[in-house]
């Protein structure tokens, strides 16, 4: 019995869908099939000039949306406006070459790093604050899709 406890715990937790999103981001994406992504120009990570954003990060977001079975609704804006929208839960994630030490981590959630530059900077995506189920899903996805090994990008 004792040996099975961890397995039982994982099962229980998974079946309750813990952790949950206080504002229900994951459930909303599952029911509307829409992923609201904010982009801001920051080459080579994000090229937001063309109609469909291009670059390392938009490719990752497309793969993530595919995993969720969701269509992406892109929103362009400055870093400030994207961060504000995340705080208001008007966006589900934001990309634009954000680094793990970004000052926006005060108001938004920060994902696990998915790329490492030669000078040791870690690249992350931003998520709405406190939406922990959604952030965990994103983190799990990013850990399976490291876009560049350590030191490969400058």
């Amino acid at each position: 019995m004792l040996r099975r406890l961890p397995a039982i715990f994982v099962l229980l937790v998974a079946s309750c869908g813990l952790p949950r999103d206080p504002e229900g981001t994951s459930e909303r994406i599952a029911s509307t099939h829409q992923l609201r992504a904010g982009v801001t120009d920051n080459s080579p990570w994000v090229n937001a000039q063309s109609a469909e954003p291009q670059g390392i990060e938009p490719d990752l977001v497309r793969a993530f949306a595919h995993r969720l079975g969701a269509r992406i609704i892109w929103t362009r804006g400055s870093e400030t406006s994207l961060a504000k929208s995340l705080e208001q839960h008007e966006l589900d994630l934001a990309i634009g070459g954000f680094e793990s030490k970004t000052p926006w981590r005060r108001i938004a959630g920060v994902s696990q790093p998915f790329a490492w530059t030669a000078d040791g900077k870690q690249h992350v995506m931003l998520a709405p604050p406190g939406e922990n189920r959604f952030l965990l899903t994103l983190d799990a996805f990013l850990s399976e899709h490291p876009s560049a090994p350590k030191g490969a990008l400058s």
């Binding site: 813990l18 949950r20 206080p22 920060v110 998520a127 406190g130 922990n132 952030l135 965990l136 850990s143």
Partner: protein, 323 residues
């Protein structure tokens, strides 16, 4: 051995207390390191970590204090160095109290601002697990062993009659409460309740303030030469009454006022004595002083001052505070 009561096994207990202090420091350090990794956006974990950092101070002060406090008296410090520890404790307790107040407001503001704590995934052995679950594991580690370390310290404190060690033990033993509060906070986050985190943080900050208050009261009572209390601070220590009763049994004694000071783990007493007639022998007085010293093992010195009548200020020592 200087600086510890003449009880059997006190020296052995002192070594044990030293080991406990080192163990405490290593244990708290391990908790702090783990908390750094799992803290993420949780206010409860941040508050718990501040509490852990501050709880390094008492065992450190114990080790330093035991070293400094045992130095023998000299011209410059004729009463010895025991009070150095008390002075250190006043500083530490004030820091604890102030950190508690700061964390109380910090948590309160986050609660008022309806700030949602963000806790994401943590890469572990090729998997990504929710950092909150790891946080709960760390909290169990920070609460459970502390309880047993606290109990062991309490035993040493009793044998050594060490008030600061007793206060530290009390705080360790209560550590599981703040860990439990933080666990409830994190579990709440898991269920999508953003407010449980800050609410738990506020509770923990209250516990930190309480610890600070306990230590501050102990330390201030010490430097103010408060009437000695028992280790649990619930009642007066019987030592003064014991000396009083012993001296009153001497045939030459008419009236006595005993004032006892605590110096670290030991007591020194001053007894003003009014003799029955004005011819008493030096031998009688000095022998009474030596025998009075034996009524309690924690007494290091009893001074007997024969007087014709009680000086006013000494006589006031009989009055209660309110009078």
């Amino acid at each position: 051995m200087r600086g510890i009561p003449a009880t059997a096994g006190a020296e052995h207990e002192l070594h044990k207390a030293h080991r406990l202090a080192w163990l405490s420091i290593a244990y708290v350090m391990s908790t702090i390191v783990m908390l750094v990794f799992v803290m993420s956006g949780s206010q409860a974990l941040k508050t718990e970590m501040s509490g852990e950092i501050l709880s390094l101070i008492p065992p450190t002060l114990f080790l330093i204090g035991d070293h400094v406090g045992r130095r023998p008296p000299n011209r410059r410090y004729p009463f010895g160095y025991e009070r150095a520890v008390s002075a250190g404790y006043i500083g530490a307790a004030t820091a604890l109290l102030m950190a508690g107040v700061y964390l109380f407001f910090d948590g309160g503001m986050k609660l008022a601002a309806r700030e949602h704590p963000t806790i994401g995934g943590f890469p572990l052995l090729g998997h990504v697990v929710w950092t909150g679950w790891l946080g709960i594991l760390v909290l169990v580690w920070s609460g459970l062993p502390a309880h047993f370390i606290g109990k062991a310290k309490r035993k040493s404190a009793e044998v050594l009659h060490d008030k600061t060690l007793a206060a530290d033990a009390e705080i360790n033993a209560a550590d599981w409460q703040s860990a439990a509060a933080a666990i409830i906070g994190l579990t709440g986050i898991a269920f999508g309740l953003w407010w449980t985190d800050s609410a738990a943080a506020v509770l923990i900050s209250l516990e930190i303030m309480r610890s600070g208050w306990i230590e501050l009261k102990t330390a201030i009572g010490d430097v103010m030469d408060r009437r000695p209390l028992t280790l649990d601070r619930k009642e007066d220590d019987p030592v003064a009454d014991k000396i009083d009763a012993f001296l009153r049994r001497q045939p030459w004694v008419k009236d006595v006022i005993v004032r006892v000071r605590e110096r670290g783990r030991e007591f020194t007493a001053e007894a003003h004595v009014v003799p029955r007639n004005d011819r008493i022998s030096v031998e009688e007085v000095s022998r009474a002083g030596m025998l009075a010293c034996d009524v309690d093992r924690r007494l290091s010195d009893v001074t007997i001052a024969p007087v014709m009548e009680m000086p006013d200020d000494v006589a006031r020592a009989r009055q209660t505070e309110e009078a």
